[in-house]
Symmetry: D2
Subunit: 335 residues, 4 copies
């Protein structure tokens, strides 16, 4: 780590280097006319850049090595391939997680599961616990919803993905195949630390306004707990643009593939917020090298209780799948 200090006296610089030495770092100081540069040698992953930048004599801090280790491709070159009951994600394996925003009834989730399976989905997604901006909005069928999701799993054999909103519900997730951590909980550090202790695959969505580095640090939380099965999911970030619900950061896909060995999928449904945009965004994600997609499908969108209308009908979904398959072929992805 390189620390650039403004016009500071020798005593201040000494005080600072001694502090770092006391924390077990070696320091290398090069004194310029207006600036002093301190090189910090040691495990800087436990240092928060903002803490150091907050020091009055410090002007800028630049990391030399990334603050994450376990998720870092530099120390784990080959792609991580996550195997969920035989369904693989990453390393050339393309996965499609489809289903309704929220689980509403056995009929709805089972019919939807069959439809998305027929269209090529490899996972069933469905929300039992729903994060809602308004306390007055429908917040999901909760435990009952999980039961229905597992019924659909039995009926179709599709592994299931669903969101965990509180550690207090964790016991209910025993038969869930992939636990989703939503955008709003991406930096719920207590939750990340806790789910790091289980071995279940975790689908970690990107926070609304989190950098790729912060996202990787959240994945590091999970891996440092002992759980190596982390899937990253780009779902759009918050910007000044209002034409789309979020701005789909397609660049994050190749950037992540360079920085980490973990699989990266994309959720065009939440990024776009408009069903008409799902097809072009799904194709752009696949063309950018995504390892999979998460797409909302509802047997009867206009009657959906939540996010309904951004969902695709089963027919529209198979149409999207047909195009995505062609791009996966160009990409030599197994799908």
């Amino acid at each position: 780590m390189i620390i650039i200090c403004g016009n500071a006296g020798k005593t201040q610089i000494d005080k600072l280097t001694e502090k770092f030495q006391a924390d077990g770092f070696r320091t290398h100081v090069s004194q310029g006319t207006e600036t002093t540069i301190i090189g910090l040698i040691g495990d800087t992953s436990k240092i928060d850049v903002e803490d150091v930048e907050a020091i009055d004599i410090v002007e800028k801090v630049q990391r030399v090595s990334e603050p994450y280790k376990l998720v870092n491709r530099k120390f784990h070159e080959e792609d991580t391939i996550i195997d969920v009951n035989g369904v693989k994600i990453g390393g050339g394996h393309f996965a499609v997680m489809a289903g309704p925003c929220s689980i509403e009834s056995e009929e709805q989730i089972v019919s939807c599961a069959k439809a998305v399976k027929a269209a090529g989905a490899t996972f069933l997604r469905g929300g039992a616990f729903k994060p809602r901006t308004s306390p007055y909005a429908f917040r999901g069928l909760k435990a009952k919803g999980l039961e229905l999701l597992l019924t659909a799993k039995k009926e179709t054999g599709l592994p299931v993905v669903t969101e965990l909103m509180s550690l207090e519900h964790l016991d209910l997730f025993n038969d869930v195949d992939v636990i989703q951590i939503g955008a709003r909980n991406m930096q719920n550090f207590e939750m990340l630390a806790e789910i790091g202790k289980c071995k279940k695959p975790i689908l970690l969505k990107r926070g609304l306004a989190n950098t790729i580095e912060e996202w990787l640090m959240s994945a590091e939380y999970i891996m440092s707990g002992g759980n190596e099965n982390v899937i990253l999911c780009e779902r759009g970030i918050r910007t000044f643009e209002t034409a789309t619900r979020n701005t789909f950061d397609v660049s994050a896909i190749p950037v992540l593939h360079h920085l980490t060995h973990l699989p990266v999928i994309a959720d065009p449904s939440h990024a776009a917020g408009k069903s008409a945009l799902i097809k072009p965004l799904a194709k752009s994600a696949a063309a950018a090298g995504a390892d999979g997609l998460m797409i909302e499908v509802h047997p009867n969108p206009s009657q959906a209780l939540c996010d309904g209308a951004q969902s695709l009908t089963p027919d529209a979904f198979s149409d999207v799948m047909a195009d995505v398959k062609k791009i996966c072929e160009l990409e030599n992805k197994i799908f």
Copy 2:
């Protein structure tokens, strides 16, 4: 709520209005040449605008009334004044919450408590559970930290404010006077719903990239649970600018005073990330009408274990207080 639809057929419009009528709304349709406008009459607070905008034939949705009720000044004109063991916030009462980022030792927190009290602070703040981007960084003394905080409370009589990071810790907070919900948990809806059931004052920090409306909806979660003691705290938002840790949104203070009756305080320490900026930002917040401030003070900043150097020394803090007091006098604030 006004819903603007593009060139859609009568059957589509009818299908949509019937759906809303089924949900208990009255609808008023005015048919134009290229657009149809649907007026929705009823309690639209449970409707998520994004869900409606996601409907394919819908082009734009515009709320006529705010989605929040209990926090809305329209239905509660006078300022809410929150009384914490006799210390008041809001409605002309200015509160100052000061103390270290994290609690490190009894000596540290007690001496700091005495120092900030002497300088004019009305609350003691200190972190026992610390949110950290890196799993390898110091995350606070946890339960032990709370004990030390309560010791400092006994020694000085200052009411204490500290952050809750997980509902599983709630039992430890019985003697805490004000529970802080951090920026990263502003949309941790399960937590908001749960703390809405207690009567303790809640300090709700603004999320890194949350709009003022989303922030008020999170306050509505707490109030709808039955807890009317909510204090809003502006701490800077995330933007493209990197010269400051966050961009301090000073406008949020007067905007909130117009929209809600709840007290609004500001946290210049986290907004700025540099101790040199705390004084001008604290003054600007007071001049914009803030009901209080939250400021990090550490007896020995350069030795702090976390955010240390963005903290003020007790002397620097009393210097800031002296200037803030003068502005509070101009504002006729009781401080």
Copy 3:
């Protein structure tokens, strides 16, 4: 246009409606308990929403019809196809504009032109006037650079695209085939109005932080001047993310195809800022339906005087073209 007013007296509402009537609009007022809604009928394209929202009694303003007419697909359903000396863009025709960031020498631009033509480029791009953040940086060969660009045009027959930075240079652009308006001049309204008077195709880049609507309004400036040959170019927007130079807004491509009949191309070089990202972004843009690409290619990137290293070598460029061609085939694009 729908104007939502807060608790305002009848006289205030009357005063406001009279003002609009005086401006030639018809008004329709519906009075609610807490809010009054004013419907404005007439040509609202000349009204600036922000001006109306600034009115004290106004809470929100919602357009019913878009503020742009000539660029609006609603009034011009079929795609606009721009023909530049027989090379077409839009309506199924895919164009590739390639070349160096800046023109450095006859040898450089001519060899580069030949190389990109061989690899499949249909236009030669090259900067003679360069926008630079620093007054001390290289700002292009200016007039001399244009001469060299035209030499390369003669040698290869490729139509040329280059940026106009000041109206005072316009006379030098007579033999240039497509005039580029850079991101920083997207709202240089005097320039937009002036180039609207010529008939040359204009490549209008999106501003660093401009919305799609503002971008379309700038295109409307050009078209309202009489020039119908406008090509829109997405080049990334400014967000909080720093892993890429800009955030490539791939969604803008399908969104624009829905809103306007004008062709839309993408510039992955400036969006990414890293040559390694150009290939995946170029493919994602093509898969999202882009009508073309603008890519920086330099015979010897590491020696380039500007943006050099984000450029591709001719070999790397043909590699990208090979993949893009395959996607264009899936998209039934003529390329």
Copy 4:
């Protein structure tokens, strides 16, 4: 400048250092296990960080010294005080620029000039050339407007400030006291270079989404042309928040005072977009140390042709001035 390279071979590093040496820099290479750090010694102000970061083997670039020199406080410690016909700005002198968004008639501008002078304004502002998002909106009285502005100057003796939108209009600005460069032209580099050649004070507004460093580089353009009279004006930046027209970045004021010797004023009218917010924002700017304010005042806001309603009435303006004066007294500002 410090350049951090990823795992690159010695030949690549040598090639890179040779390139920099050829450009006249001295290089200092320190080879680590996974990274190589290149220190660049020399005048790096002409280097664009993004160009270097674009180099494939480069991971990060960190400046040691700022890219700006003439505007840098490090090389010019004392505040610059700009004297406009005896009216001073900066170094303890507080200036207030007030007047209508656009000049509409002699009666309007003259009466407004008298009113703002009576209330304490030290400059008259008024728009003759107006930047408008829509080509169909009113764009100012242009040359005629400038005449009327100068009439008001004669009548009141107030120096005048007005916006230049194109170099072609420059000749008309001979009797204008301060030339305003609007937010949308902050990076119109040809314009900046040109006005750097005159000696007139320049009011440089911050771009909608420009960093403080980019803003200072634009000021450096003007100063490097020979014009030392630059005033910086914060007017709000573009963020995700829609409750205000822009997000007023009050922190920019103390940050700029630390980085540069140039005076810094604030424009709460454009930042807020709502007249009700002007007073609290004007006060917060003064409390943060601003050297002045720019405020829109209109004799009859509701009849204004542009931005009218965000303007204050003369009475509301004197009310704001009364409060601002009190804060200036606390700040020991001459006003």
